[in-house]
């Protein structure tokens, strides 16, 4: 299995090695913790056959007639696109396509490579590996429960799952198909696809329908049956007292709920908005990058160019700014959903935070100062115990069908966190030093 060879350009040397270490720490730990008998493909993912078997066990049947349990029916219906109703034929076609590596230029990468059914429908490494062993700049988000997201990708450049599915196939670092026609050519003539498209769409196979089919399949990946949900449903013993204390903190002192709301109409734990929480500030100089981005986009404003730039170059650290050009969006990334967060590490858009303890440490100290930092991120002064409680709570958000993996990863993360806490800064968390203080007053000066 390939280890992570990520390329960070850090502003501060300390965090360069932190990123490497953090990124590399969990991969082998997770791999070591996982049952050893999973057959694996070229890029570390479980093979398609194995994944499909696992999926069958996890989701023996999908009833498309109504909204899934746990989703408000009115809201669910609003998120099904009008031009892509959820039919069994489309879902079946999408399932085939999702696991099909023929859609990549060298035949080694499918959607399921980076969105592995045995790894939380992500790949559990900091940034994903595509064809030719190339690594991009972004962490693969999970596909679980994405039906209710308002935009896709960390910078929200895709409005629907149907649209999103079409882009990685054409990205030279991910699946590397030169154009849409090549992608269709790769599956043309295959009987199950010819029939599948006819049944699902009633017309010649085309690239847009390919995206729709994959989108339809992805919408069925609903996994919200977590211990936390059962606790909310009225079972007080479903989560530990520690996790319950964490839930109180989530709503209160830790200030999580505002950007990660969870309610019956939106159970995902994301506000679908974009915030600069300072993760990108560990990498690059923003103002300089923003100027560069302006020039590059003026030359070629196509969607594909945007996709390439987002994944391939340093400009990806500008996040949402690459899509909107708004100063308010520099370094902003979409709030990720937090369901199943225990099994979808490492965390943040660049996968730089290996454990949930790192995540809480990052927020506890007030993120990372930069001129575009979201003012809602402020030092939290959480105690050690409170951090443990929050992490305990977050691990209860995983669907019970993944309970074994969740437990293994909890232990792996805890072991890693006990070894080192790279993002911890007690002085900042307790407000003994203040955000922006070092930048303004210098290393010596501290406003008395």
């Amino acid at each position: 299995m390939s280890l992570c060879t990520v390329s960070f350009k850090a502003r501060r040397g300390r965090t360069l090695s932190a990123g490497l270490i953090a990124g590399c720490l969990l991969g082998p730990l997770a791999a070591a913790a996982a049952p050893p008998e999973i057959p694996r493909g070229q890029h570390g993912e479980a093979t398609a056959e194995y994944q499909l078997e696992e999926l069958q066990k996890l989701m023996p049947q999908v009833d498309l007639a109504e909204s899934p349990a746990g989703f408000d029916p009115v809201v669910w219906a609003a998120f099904i696109p009008e031009d892509n109703p959820l039919t069994p034929e489309r879902v079946e076609l999408g399932r085939k396509l999702f696991f099909d590596a023929r859609l990549s230029d060298d035949g080694s990468v499918s959607c399921a490579t980076c969105h592995d059914a045995t790894r939380g429908f992500t790949d559990q490494i900091p940034v994903s590996e595509g064809i030719g062993g190339q690594f991009g700049k972004r962490n693969a988000p999970t596909v679980l429960n994405t039906a209710l997201l308002q935009t896709l990708f960390w910078d929200g450049r895709s409005p629907t799952l149907d649209h999103q599915a079409r882009l990685p196939i054409l990205n030279p670092i991910e699946m590397g198909m030169p154009n849409e026609e090549a992608a269709i050519k790769a599956i043309r003539g295959i009987p199950e696809y010819e029939e599948g498209f006819k049944k699902a769409f009633g017309r010649e196979m085309n690239y847009e329908d390919l995206g729709k089919a994959i989108g339809a399949f992805e919408r069925t990946l609903v996994f919200v049956d977590s211990p936390f949900r059962r606790f909310l449903g009225g079972d007080p013993g479903a989560i530990s007292p520690e996790a319950q204390a964490g839930w109180e903190l989530f709503n209160g002192k830790a200030r999580c709920m505002t950007c990660h709301p969870m309610n019956p109409s939106n159970p995902l734990g994301t506000d679908n908005r974009f915030h600069n929480v300072g993760v990108s500030a560990r990498h690059q100089d923003f103002e300089g990058l923003a100027q560069q981005a302006l020039k590059a986009i003026q030359e070629d404003a196509s969607e594909q160019k945007l996709d390439e730039l987002a994944i391939g170059t340093d400009m990806s650290e500008l996040g949402r700014f690459m899509v909107t050009g708004n100063r308010a969006d520099i370094g902003s990334f979409r709030t990720p959903l937090i369901l199943n967060i225990g099994i979808t590490g490492p965390y943040m858009h660049d996968g730089s935070l290996a454990t949930l303890w790192d995540v809480i440490d990052h927020y506890n100290k007030g993120g990372e100062d930069n001129p575009f930092l979201d003012g809602g991120i402020e030092p939290l002064a959480l105690s050690e115990e409170e951090i443990d409680q929050l992490v305990a709570f977050l691990f209860t958000l995983t669907d019970v069908r993944f309970a074994d993996q969740n437990q293994r990863l909890f232990e792996a993360q805890r072991a890693a966190a006990n070894e080192q806490r790279l993002f911890r800064d007690d002085a900042a968390a307790q407000r003994r030093t203040l955000p922006f203080e070092q930048r303004v007053m210098g290393a010596q000066g501290k406003p008395e």
Partner: protein, 375 residues
């Protein structure tokens, strides 16, 4: 028989006249919301081609249409500092503003501080503010606010920053700095201690205090200071209170505004930059253009009445983000002395209230409208 009209009446008539004009406004001439903002807001539109936006500044006047600015200065205001052990949040706000201004490239000619550096006028608060402001790369000019003054009636302020009333010239523009928060003595009769007096003044809605004034002595000083200037001189007045009458219950008000405006009346155009109001605020009364500035500490709501019609409000801030509705800014001074006022709002796009907007009575270069207005 000559009918005397007060400045107040005259300006109300002025307002009525030019807003009658606004009603005949061609709606299409309002600036369209940028494609980028639309896409970002809807989230469902396919990604558009990118609309280039200047990174550090807001909308500029259309190229070739207006003269280029002659120089610019930056603005930080209303930090309301407590000692850091008492409240770290306001200190963080001022530090962020200083960081913003230090990151401007090129650097502004100078930085102006708009008053209310301290929250309760205490020596430690003022010293803390002075210490932080020392880290500004550009030269600092400073003005007093009521929160700085009413604990010791300006004693510590003078020690740290010199006289509260003064003028200076810069690149042909005459700058006047007033102490426009002079209050009639309300404290002696009540036997208030200095801290009680300060706390009374510190409460925006505390009706025990008196309205702000410039006062006869300063008006005389102003008259004399401006006496030598020709009618087409370029003048910028810095004042903490707005120098007009917006909303008395919150002391968004200068009681002798008429008299002050009368002194300024003879000039072709005058710009007043004021603090105190912690929001996007714009007004025009005859020849005088009024621009409020942002606070680094917290935003005020808009007054329920008396709002100048030419003001385009900032969208209601979100209390989750203590920096929302706050920030710092820049003022771009044009060769004729009029200004583009840039509001550099934190976590929002900058908003520019330009010279063109003011001169066209709100028809050109209109800033984007708020989606969450005050109510």
């Amino acid at each position: 028989m000559a009918t005397y009209k007060s400045v107040e009446t005259r300006y109300l008539e002025d307002r009525r006249a030019f807003f009658r004009g606004l009603r005949n406004l061609d709606r299409r001439s309002f600036l369209k919301v940028s494609a980028a903002a639309m896409g970002a807001a809807a989230g469902l539109a396919a990604p558009h081609s990118f609309t280039p936006v200047s990174v550090a500044r807001g909308a500029e006047s259309p190229p070739g249409a207006a003269p280029q600015p002659a120089f610019r200065f930056a603005y930080i205001s209303d930090s309301h500092l407590y000692e850091r052990d008492v409240n770290d949040r306001f200190v963080r706000g001022l530090l962020r503003a200083v960081d913003d201004v230090n990151n401007l490239d090129p650097q502004p000619d100078f930085v102006f501080y708009g008053g209310d550096l301290a929250q309760l006028g205490q020596a430690k608060e003022l010293e803390l503010g002075a210490q932080i402001l020392k880290n500004l790369k550009a030269p600092l000019r400073i003005m007093v606010g009521e929160h700085d003054w009413y604990l010791d009636m300006g004693q510590k302020w003078r020690e740290l920053f010199g006289p509260p009333t003064y003028s200076f010239d810069h690149k042909g523009v005459h700058f006047v700095v007033l102490n426009s928060v002079v209050e009639r003595d309300f404290w002696t009769a009540r036997g208030m201690s200095p801290m009680e007096r300060m706390r009374t003044v510190a409460g925006l809605d505390n009706g025990l205090q008196s309205p702000f004034t410039v006062g006869a002595a300063q008006r005389k000083w102003l008259q004399d200071d401006l006496a030598r200037l020709p009618d087409d001189a370029r003048i910028i007045v810095f004042s903490h209170s707005p120098l007009y009458k917006l909303y008395k219950p919150w002391n968004f008000w200068t009681d002798d505004a008429d008299e002050v405006q009368a002194i300024l009346k003879r000039f072709q155009r005058v710009v007043v930059i004021h603090g105190h109001t912690h929001q996007l605020l714009t007004n025009r009364i005859g020849n005088i253009h009024f621009h409020g500035v942002l606070s680094t500490a917290w935003p005020w709501p808009y007054a329920p009445e008396g709002m100048p019609e030419i003001t385009i409000q900032m969208s209601r801030p979100d209390p989750f983000n203590p920096h929302d509705g706050c920030g710092d800014g820049e003022i771009h001074v044009h060769p004729d002395g009029l200004v583009d006022k840039v509001y550099s709002l934190w976590n929002r796009n900058p908003v520019t209230v330009s010279r063109a907007y003011m001169l066209s009575a709100g028809k050109e270069s209109v800033p984007p409208l708020p989606n969450r207005p005050s109510y």
